[in-house]
């Protein structure tokens, strides 16, 4: 396969079969495309004032590369090739649809002129796409779309994942994701929201719908079990990447930095979260030597930026500050529980969630003792939102146990076991119920 050999400035091992070589170039093309894709889609979106259309054309350029490069070789300036191809497709699109409106005519003429000009090989490096990328992100994460649709669009348009990769990551059929993307793009086109550029105060307000999607993607990857398709945990990295992009192009938004810090801290514990058998290890029992210090440092840097911007009171910033207390403690015993309890109190004032209040109770219990914590938990018992939440009786049982009220603790652990969703947790709670019964007998 001489063309393929020429195409790869990458020298591959002689033992590689033709099929391997084919897969390799396919992979290489996707990798090159992912590097170029943000500039392609943002440039096209700016030109066409239409994100869904820009997305279609960017995909068409990828298909063209997959068709041509295995034969011709990866061009020396792959970005310029892809851009020229996508623009040519845009021209074809206008001609085909015979759009004679003034706007389209002007765009087409401008593009033709550009096509004839000599390409500047490194113009892509001179092109700061920050503003356009922000606009793209805001369009993909428009609040008029469902969280699921926003996540799929963002992964495709911002991270350059293929529909198939997104489907695998979310454990869904490819057709479902494809349909979700098509519908979302149609919604954007039809509602006239194809190119949204919020500025100033509106930007900050709209940012929350973006951050929500990034965090949703992160958590989807974070809850993935070991041994599942590697693309699932990879979602954490894609979310982190989006977080880093956001903080780079919208550097004055404290909550973007807060979310990035939160994600960096959580991801820093990946290697310590499960034991060799794949069983989960609770935070306080984790081997802290396995925590990723580079990621913790990055989290701290993001958190410092939050402070400089005066945003320490934001919901993401507070959650990040809480995890930072754990990240900075060299042993579980060094944890600053009273600071954590204080941060939970601040968080409860921002988000007003009984679950946050329950977490605060746990921190208060660690800082001041079980009595103070039980007073908080008892106030939460009538809370309707916690009626079926197994951690309420579980925490209450733990506090009662520490206070020597074993019989009451047993009742709580049994109630918690009955509410727990998964088998592993049920077993743990039943074991605790049995333990306090034994404790009561021996005392």
């Amino acid at each position: 396969m001489p063309a393929l050999e020429a195409s790869l400035r990458w020298k591959r091992s002689a033992a590689m079969t033709a099929a391997d070589a084919h897969r390799a170039i396919h992979h290489t093309i996707l990798a090159v495309w992912r590097i170029e894709q943000p500039r392609l889609i943002t440039s096209l979106a700016r030109m066409l004032r239409d994100v869904p259309l820009a997305e279609d054309l960017t995909q068409e350029a990828l298909l063209a590369a997959l068709e041509h490069w295995p034969v011709t070789g990866v061009p020396e300036r792959p970005g310029a090739w892809l851009m020229a191809t996508a623009k040519r497709r845009a021209l074809d699109h206008f001609r085909r649809s015979r759009m004679l409106e003034r706007k389209h005519e002007m765009i087409a003429r401008g593009m033709e002129a550009e096509q004839q000009a000599m390409p500047d090989f490194h113009s892509d490096l001179d092109d700061d796409i920050g503003d356009e990328l922000l606009c793209l992100i805001f369009t993909a994460c428009h609040p008029c779309l469902s969280g699921e649709a926003r996540a799929a669009l963002a992964l495709r348009m911002i991270c350059g994942l293929t529909t198939e990769e997104i489907a695998r990551a979310f454990l869904l059929p490819t057709a479902t994701i494809a349909q979700r993307i098509v519908r979302a793009k149609r919604t954007l086109s039809q509602s006239g929201l194809a190119y949204e550029t919020p500025r100033g105060k509106e930007l900050s307000e709209r940012l929350s719908s973006v951050l929500e999607v990034v965090y949703l993607v992160f958590n989807e990857g974070y809850t993935a079990a070991r041994g599942e398709d590697w693309l699932r945990p990879e979602l954490c990295n894609e979310a982190l990447r989006m977080g880093r992009v956001l903080t780079a192009i919208a550097p004055n938004e404290p909550e973007a930095h807060g979310l990035l810090a939160l994600m960096e801290f959580n991801a820093s514990r990946s290697a310590a979260r499960t034991d060799a058998a794949g069983e989960p290890v609770l935070l306080l029992d984790q081997d802290r030597a396995l925590w990723d210090q580079l990621q913790i440092q990055r989290g701290m840097r993001a958190l410092r930026r939050v402070g400089e911007l005066g945003g320490t009171g934001g919901a993401y910033a507070l959650q990040a500050a809480i995890i930072a207390c754990h990240a900075l403690a060299r042993t579980a015993g060094d944890t600053d529980w009273s600071r954590i309890a204080g941060l939970y109190a601040d968080l409860a004032a921002v988000v007003r969630s009984p679950i946050v209040e329950l977490n605060r109770a746990v921190a208060v219990g660690m800082a001041e003792g079980p009595e103070a914590a039980l007073a908080i938990v008892d106030r939460l018992v009538p809370e309707p939102a916690l009626k079926a939440y197994h951690l309420l009786p579980s925490v209450r049982g733990d506090l009662l146990h520490k206070l020597g009220r074993h019989e009451e603790a047993r009742v709580e652990f049994e109630a918690a076991a009955a509410l727990a969703g998964n088998k592993r947790e049920q077993n743990l709670l039943k074991r605790r119920a049995a333990e306090v019964t034994d404790g009561a007998r021996s005392s």
């Binding site: 390799a24 992979h27 990798a31 590097i35 490096l125 990328l133 880093r244 992009v245």
Partner: protein
């Protein structure tokens, strides 16, 4: 996956041209904004460093400059990328800048994945 890029050259070849510096700076800026580059750094000349080594069971400290140096490490970068293909594509782009903006330069950009999960 996390990757380390280590740039080495067989001999000292002078400082990078201003054009190369400018191009690398723009590339780094783009990579930071793309969320891929986590860290990077250049290293001071080998002559200012030291080597602590064990040879034949003997531990010794040797201050630079050294009599024999096979290759010089100029700098490193740490990237968070999806796979090796992406890592190689990024290194090719980086080295293309050297080819374009510092003719005659010779060297290697080594791509190594971090061990671990």
């Amino acid at each position: 996956m996390r990757f380390m890029y280590i740039v080495t050259s067989p001999k000292p070849q002078g400082s990078p041209t201003p054009e190369l510096m400018a191009a690398m700076h723009k590339l780094a800026d783009r990579e930071i904004k793309a969320g891929r580059m986590l860290d990077s750094g250049g290293l001071m000349p080998v002559a200012t460093g030291a080597q602590v080594k064990i040879t034949g069971g003997e531990l010794s400290v040797v201050d630079g400059p050294y009599v024999e140096t096979k290759e010089l490490i100029g700098g490193f970068a740490i990237f968070e990328l999806r796979d090796k293909e992406e890592a190689v594509a990024a290194a090719v782009e980086f080295m293309q800048l050297h080819k374009d903006f510092m003719p005659g330069w010779e060297g290697t950009c080594e791509v190594r994945a971090f061990a671990g999960p």
